[in-house]
């Protein structure tokens, strides 16, 4: 039952996000446009490039979708509305999202195309930049909750959300989440206008439809993770818990979209430099500050 409800919520959120993305791009609010263009993808020819690595080419879009859904499986919408309330939930989401890299390397290597391959390997460099900024802020979140269980993490924010308790961690995690979801300004693996679509370049038809769906699902999963770790999850007045979770998740996802629309694409070397010279020391500082707060403040 939980599985069905969470999957419907995930799909619904993806659809709303796609509608909002279309709205901000074209200026027109069309509720059915994304569904129609999704259907149109299914009707188009899905071309297989010459001498591809067929296994990677076919697996990559599906793997990306699976890991995005697996990541969402440990994130609660309400106290009991979670697919798998694992004892290692906060670690599990890292494990699932680590395979985004594997999927993108497959999508890059598989089609036997130069742009795609550069896009795929670029994401490996991007991971070296953002990975620590995902893991270290989550460590500080788990320190406050004294647990890796995601529902316990939400309960630990009753009264004071982590965005107030550890704002530095929130900022770092938000930026790193955008880099993980390879949204602008961190869309280096796809880089429209520069890499001709990068990892997307050789995909068409139904395969591209799965890839696009997977990307949007990934954004929703990361927005949901931000909600659970920093924005108090289901906590909120008047409305039912699941409604708060969905509203916050969508708000985070839309803010990721908007941040991307107004910022220029960052260079790979600059991303690496800023993440390692500034980001990681700040993440360590965040862990120390949270550690002191946990020990000193009752």
């Amino acid at each position: 039952m939980n599985l069905a409800v969470v999957l419907v919520a995930l799909l619904g959120s993806v659809w709303l996000l796609a509608v909002i993305e279309g709205w901000t791009t074209t200026g027109r609010l069309r509720l059915t446009a994304t569904l129609l263009s999704g259907l149109a993808y299914l009707g188009r020819e899905s071309i297989v490039p010459r001498t591809p690595d067929r296994i990677f080419f076919e697996t990559a879009p599906v793997l990306l979708l699976i890991v995005a859904v697996l990541g969402a499986a440990v994130l609660p919408l309400a106290p009991t509305l979670v697919i798998a309330d694992l004892a290692t939930g906060a670690l599990f989401i890292n494990a699932a999202l680590a395979y985004v890299l594997v999927a993108l390397i497959m999508a890059g290597w598989g089609p036997n195309g130069a742009y795609a391959m550069i896009g795929g390997w670029r994401f490996l460099g991007q991971l070296i930049a953002y990975a620590m900024l995902i893991v270290m802020p989550i460590t500080a979140v788990a320190m406050r909750a004294e647990s890796l269980v995601t529902t316990v993490i939400v309960v630990s924010q009753d009264g004071l959300w982590n965005i107030v308790y550890q704002p530095l961690g929130f900022v770092l995690f938000f930026i790193a989440a955008m880099a993980l979801a390879f949204r602008a300004p961190f869309d280096l693996p796809t880089a429209p206008g520069e890499l001709g679509g990068g990892v997307d370049a050789e995909y068409t038809g139904v395969r591209l439809a799965v890839l696009r769906l997977a990307r949007l699902t990934l954004v929703i999963t990361l927005a949901s993770a931000t909600t659970v770790f920093y924005l108090g999850g289901w906590h909120g007045p008047l409305l039912p818990p699941w409604a708060w979770s969905l509203i916050k998740t969508l708000a985070v996802a839309v803010s990721m979209l908007l941040a991307g629309r107004y910022l220029p694409r960052i260079r790979e070397a600059d991303l690496m430099r800023w993440c390692w010279i500034l980001g990681i020391p700040l993440a360590l500082l965040n862990i120390i500050v949270v550690g002191l707060l946990v020990l000193v403040v009752p």
Binding site: T51, D53, I55, F56, L86, A87, T88, L91, F92, N94, A95, A98, Y99, L101, V102, I105, M106, W109, W121, L124, L127, A131, S147, L148, V149
Partner: protein, 178 residues
């Protein structure tokens, strides 16, 4: 119990299967990712044996490590795509012999060793995580810290070696590229 043994066996066979693929393919990326999925299957074996933390950790760590290995293999091998028909194996007889002997020893040890009584019920996952944390920060702390410092030293040394020595010639190159 039987279901558990079944899943351990399935993931074990998957790990061996992917392990074989590592050596059967000529593509470096396929080889690296086959090794990744072999290790992921080992992680799934941990999960089937109810050691949640270790399983999830194994599955997480391998994704990044094997991907990084893939790019190094692509950089340094002469035929990374495996489409040039190059034979990249060597010392075949010796390696087959060594492999068979090692497998034989492992099997003998597995059957002869006294593994102690089988645990009737595994402690719940949260307790395991706690116990592991206590172990890492207690008895095993020195070992892990030593390993950590060694790896850090190697990383710093590798970075130091990789930084080019500034000479007049290559500083001029640098200005050109920038």
């Amino acid at each position: 119990m039987y279901a558990q043994a079944f899943f351990v066996a399935v993931f074990g066979l998957a790990a061996i299967g992917f392990g074989v693929v590592v050596f059967r393919t000529s593509s470096m990326v396929r080889s690296a990712l086959a090794l990744l999925f072999s290790q992921t299957a080992v992680g799934c074996m941990f999960l089937a044996m109810q050691t949640e933390f270790l399983g999830v950790l194994q599955i997480m760590m391998m994704a990044t490590e094997m991907s990084i290995m893939a790019i190094f293999m692509v950089m340094f091998m002469m035929d990374p795509g495996g489409m040039g028909g190059m034979d990249m194996t060597h010392q075949k007889r010796f390696s087959i012999g060594a492999g068979v002997v090692a497998a034989g020893v492992a099997i003998v040890v597995a059957f002869w060793a006294d593994w102690g009584p089988v645990t009737a019920e595994a402690p719940d996952a949260a307790m395991q995580t706690r116990a592991l944390g206590m172990e890492l920060l207690g008895r095993s702390m020195l070992i892990f810290e030593t390993a950590g410092i060694t790896i850090l030293t190697a990383m710093i040394a590798a970075t130091a070696v990789a930084i080019p020595v500034q000479t007049t010639a290559n500083s001029a190159d640098k200005e050109d590229t920038e």
